[in-house]
């Protein structure tokens, strides 16, 4: 469901947040759905439940989860726009990286080769 990169410098709780937003963006989770419980998520990812709890707490604070009592882990109607927002940040940083590549003297062909190599690595 969510894949963690244990070697990434992005903290695990951030990866969990991004992963859940990604699931909403892909339409695999919809407002009103329950996200996996903390225990389930921790077991699936083999991480400390405190780490999942932190991600869920922040997601609740951001409005991604409903904040009503007894409704923990329910995807809120606002989740979609939050997921879009997160996705836009990714596309912005990609743009910055590509601009940087151009300025450093990479050609488009080289950049495309780099992207193809990354795709093989990530998928």
């Amino acid at each position: 469901m969510i894949t963690l990169n244990q070697n990434s410098q992005t903290p695990i709780y951030d990866q969990i947040k991004l992963g859940l937003k990604g699931l909403v963006k892909k339409g695999l989770l919809k407002p009103g759905d329950a996200a996996p419980s903390i225990r389930k998520m921790a077991s699936d990812l083999k991480v400390n439940p405190n780490t999942v709890a932190r991600a869920y707490r922040e997601l609740t604070a951001e409005g991604f989860f409903e904040s009503l009592r007894g409704q923990e882990n329910i995807i809120s109607p606002r989740a979609g726009s939050l997921a879009e927002h997160a996705a836009r940040r990714v596309s912005e940083s990609l743009e910055t990286a590509l601009k940087g590549a151009m300025e450093s003297g990479f050609s488009w062909t080289e950049v495309e080769k780099m992207i193809a190599a990354l795709k093989r690595k990530l998928l």
């Binding site: 963690l4 244990q6 070697n7 990434s8 410098q9 992005t10 903290p11 695990i12 903390i38 225990r39 921790a42 077991s43 990812l45 083999k46 991480v47 400390n48 439940p49 405190n50 780490t51």
Partner: protein
């Protein structure tokens, strides 16, 4: 969080002329998950048996859950222990082992024990003498947790187990953590699989805790610098050579600040920086 559950000071233990622990200081707060990283024979098992009040220390002090190991065995009832090589009476069945142990632990929860048997797929009627390594490990896990201990000491709980059994044990561990308040100290040679669960990693070397790092620090601030070196360089603290004999060399760098400083060194100007995997970080910490 300032709720100390375990504290040892200057713990010493020798077996004959062989000094195993030489002044070990370790502390744990409630709810912490601590990984003890040490090579074979570094004294992890000795440390555990002192904490369990099974072996008396030669010197130093230990306080666990407000008690001191005094030979009375009171501590054992409050701690859950998974030994490296679990041993039960061979003639007993799994159920008999659990019933036998129930008599020694005031807080033994038989319903929990039987529920765990079902979850871990351990046949209650199977006989200990005929158990596979995996089933023995499951029984050891159930025996260690059925009395709801506040402190779990795990000595290589997953070594030599197949993927599915390991998964069962890790999930059991996560389940205990979800219940809350549990403090766990785990020794594991292959700490990588535990990486996501640990709060802190302590390195046991030469009979003492040589280093203690937050797990998040190792995950987020350990780097590998690959560089072509024409001449030998002197390495600042926090930078460890990873081998590679020729001009092309690998270094482990701990801490973002150290990395930034290293980059200022002209010799490292062209270094390729990548994250250092948790497994590799552990290897460096062990070998240092």
């Amino acid at each position: 969080m300032n709720d100390s559950i375990l504290e040892t000071k200057g713990l010493r233990k020798a077996f004959g002329p062989k000094e195993v622990l030489k002044g070990l200081d370790l502390s744990a707060e409630r709810g912490e998950v601590i990984g003890i990283l040490g090579r074979n024979g570094s004294g992890k098992t000795t440390l555990f048996s002192i904490l369990l009040d099974l072996t008396a220390a030669d010197g130093g002090s230990a306080e666990i859950l407000g008690l001191r190991p005094d030979g009375s065995g009171r501590l054992r009832g409050l701690i859950g222990y998974v030994p490296e090589k679990p041993a039960f009476h061979g003639f007993m069945t799994a159920l008999e082992v659990l019933e036998f142990r129930a008599r020694f632990f005031k807080r033994w929860d038989m319903a929990k024990a039987l529920d765990l048997c079902r979850k871990l797929e351990l046949d209650q009627a199977s006989r200990v003498s005929a158990m596979s390594k995996g089933n023995l490990a499951k029984l050891a896990w159930i025996a260690a947790t059925a009395h709801n201990p506040e402190l779990l000491l795990l000595d290589e709980p997953t070594s030599g187990l197949d993927y599915l059994v390991r998964d069962h044990i890790l999930n059991g561990l996560i389940h205990e953590l979800t219940e809350g308040g549990k403090t766990i100290i785990v020794a594991n040679h292959r700490m990588g699989e535990m990486g996501g669960i640990l709060d802190r990693v302590c390195v046991l070397r030469d009979g003492a805790i040589a280093a203690s790092h937050a797990a998040s620090f190792l995950a987020e601030e350990a780097f590998r610098a690959t560089v072509r070196l024409e001449s030998p360089v002197s390495l600042p603290a926090g930078v460890v050579a990873l081998g590679g004999g020729s001009a092309l060399r690998d270094f482990a760098v701990f801490g973002r600040e150290k990395l930034e400083r290293l980059k200022l060194d002209p010799a490292f100007a062209g270094a390729e920086i990548s994250p250092l995997s948790l497994e590799d970080s552990f290897k460096v910490l062990l070998g240092e």
